[in-house]
């Protein structure tokens, strides 16, 4: 999918994971900061309650959305979320989350997911911006800060004709400016806290910059996490998921974390 030129700033939302409260809070916050366009980089469902509640928010606010691995799986009714876990415990919780989301997503919304593009491109401040879910080459590729070398990023920029690449999927935000001026950023996620012991989540603003043309700003978002936890309990979702929302520490799906990122967490 291609768009035209876009003026700064724009708001970028990573995985929502059915956290409709955080999505509403992020859109409101981005508006107050002057954001003129909104993008979602995929993974609308998972983890949280009532997956259908996210869709009207995205439509009513004209959030241009691309397809994450979760969306692809839900749309096609696949057996799993394509996160590639091998640890039995991680697979157990991933299965619960996926089956719940699959059952609770309406046919109409599954059709909507099926029509989403795999990437979104636009030009901003004369820079070619590429939005993707995991990486430009692979929807479910994890690009962690501590396992993504500069040389590998350069290959991605070269092979995918972009000056700025923005992704999500890992759940942890980070950014890197390469020596040639290219900018990569993981925009984080709205769906769950960042494994840092706080309950806030976050989104990213992309804005023009005199020095580099474009820069990103990570914006923390406080939202009604207690209400989300109540809804998760009422839906019978695992206590481990609720603990993450209430404590800010990840309790499941830790297998894929590299050692530096894992060390910063509690579990």
């Amino acid at each position: 999918m291609s768009g035209g030129s876009t003026e700064a700033p724009v708001a970028l939302f990573g995985g929502i994971y059915s956290n409709h409260w955080a999505l509403r809070a992020a859109i409101t916050d981005a508006r107050t900061r002057g954001a003129k366009a909104f993008y979602c980089l995929g993974d609308l469902g998972a983890f949280g309650p009532h997956p259908d509640l996210v869709f009207p928010i995205l439509r009513e606010n004209n959030v241009q959305t691309l397809s994450g691995n979760y969306d692809d799986s839900i749309a096609r009714g696949l057996d799993d979320c394509q996160c590639g876990y091998t640890d039995p415990r991680d697979n157990h919780f991933a299965r619960i989350s996926y089956q719940y989301t699959l059952q609770k997503t309406s046919p109409r919304n599954r059709e909507w997911l099926a029509a989403l593009p795999g990437e979104i491109r636009f030009v901003m401040a004369e820079k070619r911006v590429l939005l993707c879910h995991g990486s430009p080459r692979q929807r479910n590729e994890f690009l962690w800060e501590s396992t993504t070398p500069d040389a590998f990023l350069l290959k991605l920029f070269r092979n995918h004709d972009a000056d700025v690449i923005l992704a999500t999927h890992t759940g942890l935000k980070w950014r890197r400016r390469l020596s040639g001026g290219q900018l990569f950023a993981n925009v984080g996620v709205l769906g769950r806290p960042e494994n840092d012991g706080t309950t806030q989540v976050g989104y990213t603003l992309l804005r023009s910059s005199d020095e580099h043309g474009l820069e990103v700003e990570f914006v923390p978002v406080a939202y009604d996490h207690e209400q989300l936890a109540r809804e998760m309990r009422a839906e019978g979702l695992p206590a481990e998921f609720i603990e993450t929302i209430e404590s800010g520490w990840w309790t499941t799906c830790l297998e894929v974390l590299p050692s530096k990122e894992r060390s910063r967490g509690k579990w």
């Binding site: 590639g84 091998t86 590998f152």
Partner: protein
Amino acid sequence: MLDLDAPCVDLRSLDEVWFQVAGTLCNLSCNHCFISCNPGNHSFGFLDLAKIRPFLAESVKLGVKEYYFTGGEPFLNREIVPILEETLRLGPATVLTNGTVFRGRLVNELRRIAEGSQYSLEIRVSIDGPDKETNDPIRGEGSFEDAMRGVQQLAQSGFLPIITMVQTWADSDTLKVLDQFGAELKRRGCVRPRFKILPTLRIGMEATRTRGYLSEERITREMLEGYDTSQLICSHSRIVTDQGVAICPILIESPVAHMGSTLEETLRPFAVDQPACYTCYLFGSICTNTGAALSGRDC
């Protein structure tokens, strides 16, 4: 010369470069070792920093994503710390060790270089079960306690070692094994255990311990139709040995696996008709840290 009738796998993207940094020399003589490493096996020699440097430089040009160091026992190589330090300036590194040769100073040095890099240093420690009764018949008398001491040293130094087990139990027992091993590690102060489970490879010593591959256990061209070949390590890895660059860590003893003297020379398809390729076909990229494939991975 590539056999055009053989089942072939393209290199989609060179994401991982392996280094056979300790050759086939190991202080242990595990009876399932797929390249039969032991204290007297000098079939492959050590790689020193001078030999590794040109490959690191080449890997940067090729946009490699991560580096692995194996053997033999990598920590028998006296240059392993400077090798890892130089590698960690470029990207993440993983060392596959038996965990039995750590000394306090070595662990401190590893801690120093790990903290000095923006990239992760992973230490994978091979222990083949949650107790000496399971492990020692395979890896040698006393090796369980020796390796667990190594794991404790790593954990005390802030590492989160990945315990790598070759599965010698029934699938139905896997959860029990993980629970038992997790409890044992926690008892010894390793409170955040990480595990990776590998299948056996029926070559080298393992062919004698259990059995070799049957003649029908081969990948055929038909089996690759509709199969996601990005699950196979040969679609995204190469390994540097002291005798050139080979297709993967498992096949270094097979002459057909040696593809050139530089990485660039090996960026071509490989015929996956070797017996051990069958195990990769069944289980996916078993050697890399993330076991499951990133399906459809491409440049």
